[in-house]
């Protein structure tokens, strides 16, 4: 039983060229894709690792970039597959579901026939590349990142074959969400989930991505890339749940390209990983777009969540509104660094950015770096960051109603979360997510309330 574990331990890590060569030799993808892979691998090798003095890595003090312990996993056992399928249950009412374990496709639920008949595509990438080469050619690997993780972006593109393409053609509107699970199971497994979401003109749909670990005690590495393309008038609602175990190192590198009169919502719940880096870039390329980005992070122990965002307004009359909330316990850290960029021609822009941090223990640390770069002269832009503790007057109000301190604190903390949770706009999912968060609070002693005010 131990031989397999030993073999895994001694295999080269995903940052090693021997690992990449082996991966390439085993890949069943078309030659053109393999050639991309080689290009990206070369790019990965050329690029330096980030340094914490780089602007995009300021305050990221805990992450290290040692990939030697992470390998592509072997195929999962039947037991593992059975277990992940039984636990892939966040969304019962859905338009389709795909489940991956350690990059391996283990379940693919066909979409309703009427959607297929209208041209909706919801397929694992490896299948999409043969069935819809034109879509893959047009959208896959077209994106880059501007927020500091280009080396990891290249690594992702070199390895990634797992992931999916969701394409909803013009004028197709779908109520029930598509659901995708990206599970981590094997010790030391390296995951490269690819998320490709394309909404045609005036389409409307939503998708849920859940990243989770099957086991609490296994290390792993995940480098996910998500690219959203919203064509004129598209309404896309993307929900992402990062709930890996606390031994993972994870990257999520996202871009959103939005055209005229689109309505794009991005909402993230971040609970897991020892170190989690999240880059989210919005490029507004068409007038009248309306983009809202929400995130809720609950940090504990020595977790470090590093969030970098960029809202780029290249077109006039568009709105982007960002609200990132972090709650920190123990000696966890968060970093929020956000930039709003408004181009000269993007007049009548409304762009907002808010970061709120709630420190629940005195030893936690939240860092905030909001920024604006505005070249247009007729815009409404604001950014704000607050870091605080539970309000002691509010706490007294709870206590005076007979509610014990511990329960009062929980209600206050969940009250802080609710503003983001309710944006998931799906009761079943919201209840499931509240449950996930609740689990993080069991046995926690929170001590941070605002200090006593000096009376003047």
């Amino acid at each position: 039983m131990n031989t397999e574990a030993t073999a895994v331990q001694t295999a080269p890590g995903v940052g090693d060229s021997a690992s990449f060569e082996r991966h390439l030799s085993l890949s069943a993808l078309p030659e053109s894709w393999k050639n991309w892979k080689k290009e990206y691998w070369e790019k990965y090798e050329e690029l330096p690792f980030p340094r914490t003095r780089d602007e995009h890595w300021r305050f990221a003090s805990r992450i290290d970039f040692d990939l030697s312990g992470f390998q592509l996993a072997e195929d999962a056992s039947d037991d593992t597959i059975e277990e992940v399928l039984s636990r892939s249950n966040l969304v019962a009412e859905r338009s389709g579901q795909i489940v991956f374990v350690d990059n391996q496709l283990v379940s693919e639920e066909a979409i309703p026939e009427e959607l297929a008949a209208r041209g909706v595509v919801f397929l694992p990438l490896a299948e999409a590349v043969t069935k819809h080469p034109e879509l893959v050619e047009r959208y896959l690997f077209q994106e880059s990142t501007d927020l500091g993780s280009d080396k990891f972006h290249a690594l992702h593109n070199a390895y990634s074959e797992s992931g999916y393409l969701l394409y909803v053609p013009d004028n197709v509107e779908i109520d029930a969400p598509f659901a995708v699970y990206h599970w981590h199971a094997a010790p030391g497994a390296a995951l490269f989930p690819h998320i490709l979401v394309v909404g045609g003109r005036n389409s409307r749909f939503s998708v849920v991505d859940a990243q989770q670990s099957l086991f609490e005690d296994r290390t792993g590495f995940s480098c996910a890339v998500g690219n959203v393309f919203a064509e004129d008038g598209a309404k896309i609602y993307r929900r992402t749940i990062q709930n890996f175990n606390n031994r993972m190192v994870s990257f999520q590198l996202d871009t959103n390209n939005v055209d005229r009169d689109t309505a794009v919502r991005g909402i993230n719940l971040n609970l897991g990983s020892r170190r989690a880096r999240f880059e989210n870039e919005v490029r507004i390329n068409g007038a009248g777009a309306d983009v809202k980005l929400y995130s809720l992070t609950v940090a504990e122990n020595d977790q470090e969540f590093d969030q970098r965002t960029l809202q780029i307004h290249n077109a006039p009359n568009a709105v982007s509104d960002l609200l990132y909330k972090n709650a920190l316990m123990d000696h966890s850290r968060t970093i929020f660094s956000g930039l709003i960029k408004v181009a000269k021609d993007a007049q009548q822009t409304d762009a907002y950015q808010t970061n709120r941090n709630l420190l629940l223990n005195d030893t936690a640390q939240a860092n905030s770096l909001p920024g604006l770069e505005i070249e247009a002269n007729d815009v409404k832009c604001s950014h704000g960051a607050t870091t605080g503790q539970l309000d002691r007057d509010e706490l007294f109000y709870f206590l005076q109603r007979g509610i014990p301190k511990r329960i009062a604190q929980q209600l206050m903390v969940f009250g802080f979360f609710e503003e983001v949770i309710e944006q998931f706009d799906n009761e079943e999912l919201e209840e499931n997510l509240r449950g996930l968060i609740q689990a993080k609070f069991e046995k926690k002693q929170l001590d941070a309330v605002t200090p006593k005010m000096e009376t003047t």
């Binding site: 007294f396 709870f398 005076q400 509610i403 009062a408 969940f414």
Partner: protein, 253 residues
């Protein structure tokens, strides 16, 4: 024994003495009004009774049905039966009124006792109806974005749901127009009864037109200087608080 008995209470905040040998007894079944000018210590009294940690008690005692409540944790005092209607009710984002009151009721249950949610909501809607609060409010965050009148009605709603033995109502009339005042007063009057003592703290007499007290006390510089029947409030209204000050000055000289 069935009374809230405050005896020789000396208390203050940040090293400053505010309550000076304050004594007052509110028996169950009675409504007492505590009147006085601003800055005389009325709100301090309310906070001290509720066990707010910022306030320092130097000496004295507060017996609720014979049991000392000074030194107890605020949530324990509350569960023992003391309710404070806040002058400035706090806004609690993300916590609905229904969940807030539910948590308060559940905190009063025995371990293992089941919470009867349907009965709870029936009762909640009944009380909301009396206080003319729209049902939809139960799902709204506590006091968030409420008008002054809505906040005060929400206080009375909580009070009527929790059925405390003693209510201390701190400037409940502040910020209310006459219609809201009548609704709030009606809610309070419905709670009068042999099992409850109510202390109404107010600056103005007008609230007492609607909540007619059994006794009126006038507070000045941290202690009660006059006690009398409900007519005292009218006299005070007529003569103003200067009357109290001048009278004290006369006595002292």
């Amino acid at each position: 024994m069935s009374q809230l008995e405050i005896k020789n209470l000396n208390a203050g905040i940040a090293g400053q003495s505010i309550l000076k040998d304050f004594s007052l007894t509110v028996p169950k079944g009675e409504v007492h009004a505590l009147m006085g000018p601003n800055g005389t210590g009325k709100s301090t009294l309310a906070k001290v009774l509720a066990g707010h940690e910022d306030y320092e008690v130097e000496s004295g005692s507060v017996l609720m049905d014979g049991e000392e409540i000074l030194g107890k944790e605020p949530d324990e005092v509350a569960r023992d039966g003391l309710f404070l209607a806040f002058q400035y009710p706090l806004e609690i984002p993300g916590v609905s009124i229904a969940n807030f009151i539910r948590a308060a009721l559940q905190a009063r249950q025995e371990d293992g006792e089941k919470f009867d949610a349907p009965a709870y909501y029936r009762r909640l809607y009944e009380k909301m109806n009396i206080l003319q609060i729209d049902k939809k409010f139960s799902a709204r965050s506590v006091n968030e974005g409420f008008s002054g009148g809505e906040k005060k009605r929400c206080e009375i709603l909580q009070m009527s749901m929790l059925e405390p033995s003693y209510c201390v109502m701190d400037e409940t009339d502040s910020g209310l127009d006459i219609d809201a005042l009548k609704i709030v007063a009606n809610g309070v009057n419905l709670m009068r009864g042999p099992d409850r003592g109510i202390l109404v703290i107010t600056h103005y007499q007008r609230l007492l037109d609607y909540i007619v007290p059994d006794k009126v006390h006038v507070m000045y510089e941290g202690r009660i200087v006059h006690s009398g029947e409900k007519e005292l409030a009218l006299e005070l209204e007529e003569k103003g608080y200067d009357w109290v000050r001048d009278e004290l000055a006369t006595t002292a000289s």
